[in-house]
Homo-oligomer: 484 residues x 4
């Protein structure tokens, strides 16, 4: 059976034993660690939703390999409809968890790798594609979560991988033999990796021949020898340690720095090794697939934020004020603009040679560029509606204290009929989404804005536009002199 229960998923993690550091300490039971468990809870929701009759249709698909029902997050898009449905699934999953749904990266690496391996084989006569399909069959039937290992640490960004002072600042192949390869380096910003079973590694940038050792793609289990995980520290993560003022009670994202110290990868898990001329294609596929998804997931989180903000406006007694309604409507407008870009990218895609359906590259990047802008404005609007309490509110622990609690209850109440703790929790939720890592994650997930601008420029058919302008202006030729 290809669909695990959330409980089975969590148990499956307990059998792994990755090397994890948090704030300078080696962690043993990472599954129950308060800074990691909320991420595991998020991923567990993706298992639960697939079994939930309400979401089953969105959250499962039929594998084109096995014909089995699988989690849609492990599915290779077979059609436009698949792609659109995937976006709808992301919005719903994000609504359920009120944060990044984390597991989307599995589909956003398997889809590009499916095509990438197909194309390398075609030009190079390799057999990566068959290998990859076998791996894909495996993770589909085992219902695994594979994190995405894409962004290298990069060192001095003015230098290419092979020209760094330290050659390890991009993940590279340091040894090859008949069994497999040995890789060294580190990947950053790896979202939710401590809720995953495997990491799908791909190159982070376009490379030239001199960087061939860095042109490597593979899959590796999180407990492979030589892997070390160092958890990133968020703005409000300590609240998880004391369990109060969480905002989002059960769910959170986490990222890790993942260090590869001479990690062995058997050939059956290697999907690119030295074919530097395909790194451009790898990036192109990954960014189209990944950036497109932001058109679905961000509106899901924004739905939660907008709902909380609207409710706070009611509790503050200002929900009928014209400027408050205008701000809430503006939040919706911006969020729906992002959603529209995601839908359009799905609609305007096309089928690639391997048979995978790919969202429209231009529109996927347009979606993502808006995701790097609008949420900051949405956050500002949410703050404005919420009021200064967003920054100055006492702890829920004060409310629960028998001496000071009744005073806090009395003085922080908004409209009479809503209890103070409800107001406080909503403020914390808004704080969680607007002052946590969500904004920078929106900005940088799938690459920063400048990388989207580069694609948009490249995807624009400038010559066509120039011809249309000349046609309308009555310009028949561009050279020579004289008068019209």
């Amino acid at each position: 059976m290809a669909l695990r229960t959330p409980e089975e998923y969590v148990e499956s993690l307990r059998r792994l034993n990755p090397v994890v550091y948090i704030a300078g300490e080696r962690i043993d039971n990472y599954v129950d660690h308060p800074l990691i468990r909320p991420g595991i809870n998020v991923v567990a929701q993706t298992y639960a939703a697939a079994l939930d009759p309400r979401y089953e249709d969105l959250c499962t698909a039929v594998s084109h390999i096995s014909g089995e029902k699988i989690n849609r997050l492990l599915h290779v898009y077979q059609s436009r409809e698949d792609c659109i449905r995937s976006l709808r699934m992301l919005r719903v999953l994000n609504q359920l968890v009120g944060t990044c749904c984390i597991r989307c990266v599995t589909k956003e690496t398997i889809n590009p790798l499916y095509e990438l391996t197909y194309q390398i084989d075609l030009k190079r006569g390799t057999n990566y594609h068959a290998r990859f399909k076998k791996y894909l069959s495996y993770i589909q039937s085992e219902d695994l979560f594979c994190a995405a290992g894409v962004t290298d640490v990069k060192g001095d960004r003015a230098r290419s991988p092979s020209r760094q002072a330290d050659p390890d600042l991009y993940v590279r192949v340091v040894k090859k033999n008949s069994d497999g390869i040995v890789v060294r380096g580190a990947k950053m910003h790896m979202t939710g990796v401590l809720a995953s079973h495997y990491i799908n590694v791909m190159p982070t940038t376009t490379m030239r021949e001199e960087d061939a050792d860095y042109a490597v793609a593979f899959a590796v289990p999180v407990n492979a020898p030589g892997l070390t995980f160092v958890l990133g520290r968020h703005s409000m993560d300590e609240r998880r340690l004391d369990g109060s003022d969480l905002g989002n009670l059960h769910y959170d994202m986490h990222e890790a720095l993942v260090i590869f110290e001479d990690v062995f990868i058997p050939w059956e898990r290697v999907f690119m090794c030295g074919e530097f001329e395909f790194t451009g294609l790898a990036i192109e596929l990954f960014t189209a697939m990944h950036r497109f998804s932001y058109g679905g997931c961000r509106p899901g989180v924004m739905d939660v934020l907008i709902g909380a903000t609207r409710l706070i406006s009611e509790i503050n007694g200002v929900s009928r004020a014209s400027h408050i309604r205008d701000k809430l409507t503006e939040m919706v407008h911006l969020s729906e603009t992002i959603w529209a870009c995601g839908l359009a990218a799905a609609l305007e895609g096309h089928v690639l040679p391997s048979g995978v359906y790919c969202p429209n590259r231009m529109l996927a990047n347009v979606a993502k560029l808006n995701v790097g802008r609008f949420p900051y404005e949405i956050a500002r609007l949410a703050h404005e509606v919420t009021g200064g309490i967003i920054a100055t509110m006492p702890s829920e622990k004060d409310l629960l204290n028998h001496e000071i609690g009744p005073k806090v209850e009395k003085y922080l109440r908004g409209v009479e009929h809503v209890p103070t703790w409800v107001r406080m929790r909503l403020v914390r939720l808004i704080e969680n989404i607007t002052l946590g890592v969500t904004l920078p994650a929106d900005l940088f997930g799938g690459g920063g804005p400048q990388t989207q601008k580069i694609v948009i420029e490249a995807e624009t058919n400038w010559e066509h536009k120039k011809r249309m302008a000349c046609e309308v202006a009555g310009i028949t030729k561009l050279n020579g002199s004289g008068t019209p």
Copy 2:
């Protein structure tokens, strides 16, 4: 045969003889008047495109009534695919003319009227729908262009139609008999009406019982007795009179104030008469249909503007400067965001009771709201790339003068190999799009931004969003007191 040639279309107008005033003068041969002909040229392009093998697939459809091939601008959407294709057609038509394609309003009034008449009949037992279908058959088989008569002159906007100091400030029924009705009032902003055969009139706002006389929809030929047209004056329309510095050589939009002085409408052309409780639905349908279209047409005009701006950057010798490339890419990004909203509105629509497919109301309004914002920013960016010459350039007539011409040729040249007249024409095209009526038309076409905000607020499922927020924040009930 339901498809006329452009020539047949122009000739068909010559047989009409509407009462037209321009700048205080009664006009006889309006078809060849330089301020009207460019609008007729635009509409002629919609006839030409339907016969052009390159665009035939986009620009024609099969009538669901007659089964004949008709111009898609006369088609009632039968499906999502119809709706999407209609949007693609609009982008292409606007690219061809570099301005508003004018004739879209036919489809944007017949689609709402098709549903509206169906619903009134259903609730009121009238027979408007059969009447309307007959009219629709007629205009489809005759391949007519019907302008949209929606926006009343409105007088004091703080007062409803029946409470104006002058009762004629909204179009109203002043008499009814067995043959038909007599209407009085005026409609403004009627785009391209002097290129049309008929006007499809609908109410402009939601009405109450006291306004029942104003709840009226009908079709009327432009040469009906009692109709008078007063042409609006544009910022650069005098150039049409001297024929130079046009920017857009052949095409332009126009609007008129249309005065109805006791115009008789036979019952067979009346589609609503007094059913005030359906005015809200009428607006809702019209705005969804019309605002959605801006997602297709604006990007078409922007394609022309972006092409001209890119070419000017090359002629100025600055196309490789990083900040210039950034600005051009930003123009594309904003334009494609609008396009994405249009596509998404088409994708997310649904079939109405009468069988007409309706684009998504929320997303149609989101598209239009962005159309009221981004073009102003796009214009600013176009100006910045073009340079101060956008405001200070001598006339092409100077270039053509034998004394001063060679000096203008010498001193206004950009890069060596492009003749000065090419540069001048491109500057005029950019001026035409950014300092003409395009920006205010973007802002107000289909209603100003505030009207979109109202729909977006109304279409938002606030309760659902609030529930999602409560779920994530651990709030199970909103009333009472105490602690969680």
Copy 3:
């Protein structure tokens, strides 16, 4: 001697013993509490700067009462030059601490109270002004820090103070006798109050006769019986508890909810009591004085943020990239626009009847409105330059651990010659300013944006502008009919 040393200041706090709750616990030694001490450090800097020859000229003034040299933060503006110098002082103080300089609120309450008491006396024959001057003499000669108690908790914002379900939701007089008054209620968002000696309390809104009990202004020492302080919880304040990843090593702001449970205020400290018709003036004076200051303090914090962001761009190896330079320059532009608004407000002020110089009310509100906008954009730009590491960086504790430390050192290094810890500290500083309470504090300090809009509308001479338009358009009268 009117100027204390920083050490004397800190010692002076130890003698007070206010009732303080933090996260549900009563705190004894609040002076050394890691969540309060950084705020005390900030205020200590305002004492140090006054004694520092580099800043002495900016940070001290001559009391117009005693003729003694005093801290400028205790000074009543005697002239335009005083006001401008005060703004310069704020920029420098904020640059020194990289956050809110906290103590500015003393001058922003004594200046309005100076004028307010003068005007009440004038109209009501009271003797508040003499009382207030005596109090002012006292705090000047003792070199005290007085916090500002302005914002009430407000409950249901759709209701006025006396119409709340609970009458205590605005601070009010519950008893009066020959010795003084007794007040009850609570004030929120009180910045830096646990670094203060006194609180200067003023009403938060305009009141009508029915709210007369709420029209009260007074000064109260922080250790007055009946006062309780509940500390607000910030997004990153727990880091103060473990002492790592602070971003800003020594300085931070804090706010408290301050509860007044039947606190006795002797008449000599009461500056308004029941004169409800002066509450509008009180707000007007306070907001002009306080909002103006944001024109000086925000650019000071932005200087630190911009410096950190520039340095990170160098460490990332991207400081020469054109788009990075553009973003950094844009940050400067926005920050300097705010600075310009502050300076202009100071320049365009006028002398009030009591002799105090008041900054220009329109421009002070324009400054503040920009402060509620630009910093969000500046934060987005800072994030974009810094990179995704802003959200995902491991703790400095990882760097200091002997096992994982060397690996973090190796992999998080940017350009070769800058040590990793420097990069990490700068990222933490940027995180501190952009994901802490700075943005909402910018938005709400001195009132949210809507309150500034109200003042700007009220300060606009609409009639004058209308007359100018009519003049230019050739309109000589607005009534009647006919033609020009």
Copy 4:
């Protein structure tokens, strides 16, 4: 007597006989030409204001050379107060004419030339300064208007002056002898030049040794042999020809392309000739002086626009709607932000070696950069308040026609008591300001936005900001390795 009457000023122009082309025709009586006269009317206002007791204080100054009372537009700033007063004068002058006040460029070229000639003399031992003072004495005592000849036509912007395909694309010295120099080339965008007596010519960019022939500054009367003027064509200038729908009844700006065909300049009018190393200083001085002024003049025009928009909102019956009030207030906010930047630039200036007071370079550029942004947004807001009538309104000639006039009067009326012609004129005024050349003039006057960004970047003390950040973050050194 150094102050002429407006009438004397206009008469003085009649004695000149410059070579003027408009739309391909050589013009004889340029003073009364409807496209030029409105610019002359503007400048006449600057003469009238100096004699008007209401404005005399702002609009006149005492010459530091002659001690005579002169027009302030001919004054060299002697102090901060002079500079501030100059800004106030500009706001008032622009309010009076509702457009660019044109003559400001005299003061913005004499101020830089005063300092520039002083510095060249100091380093090169030339005697330009004495010469320039003599010229200055002359124009002050004659009360002349000198236009600014700064922007060359520039050809291919990727090439420097001496590397253009055509060497004449920047104005250059082609001959020198004992009497003077001969110059050839062309200057563009010369505002109001056909209302001027003299042109003050300065170089437009920083030059290197190879461009020494292009490093030239001088003054030349508009009727010098070899000068030809070709008028730029504006979006709505034809309305001046038929005299209706003007918007602004009497005033308008114009620009010309000015061609120098071997024009002789006597040495006494030459102020720089070959000293290429001072071209950077020339630009720096001119841009600081000129960009600063936009902080005064733009708010003056915006005052008129805001007044017209407010009045239209009243006539439309919507002035009490909350969203309308918000938009009008936003227009004020943006305009006052610009004003604040101008005032701050004046306040923060300093005295240069020659004794001239120079506004602050950073803040002058900040002001101008905002002028290139906010007016586009202000225009959008003005359109939104005005309604679609901004684009579609019939001509006033229709209103005046006896047949159609009464119908237009009836149907275009807003609130009952305001005549239609008033509404129409206000709409035309708003159209004039928002769809004419004002926006691009705002963008490009004093150089486009990118040139301001360059100055802002250059004026920023990045090292100081970096040091402040390091101080706060606890970073004592930037090199080496290890831990803190």
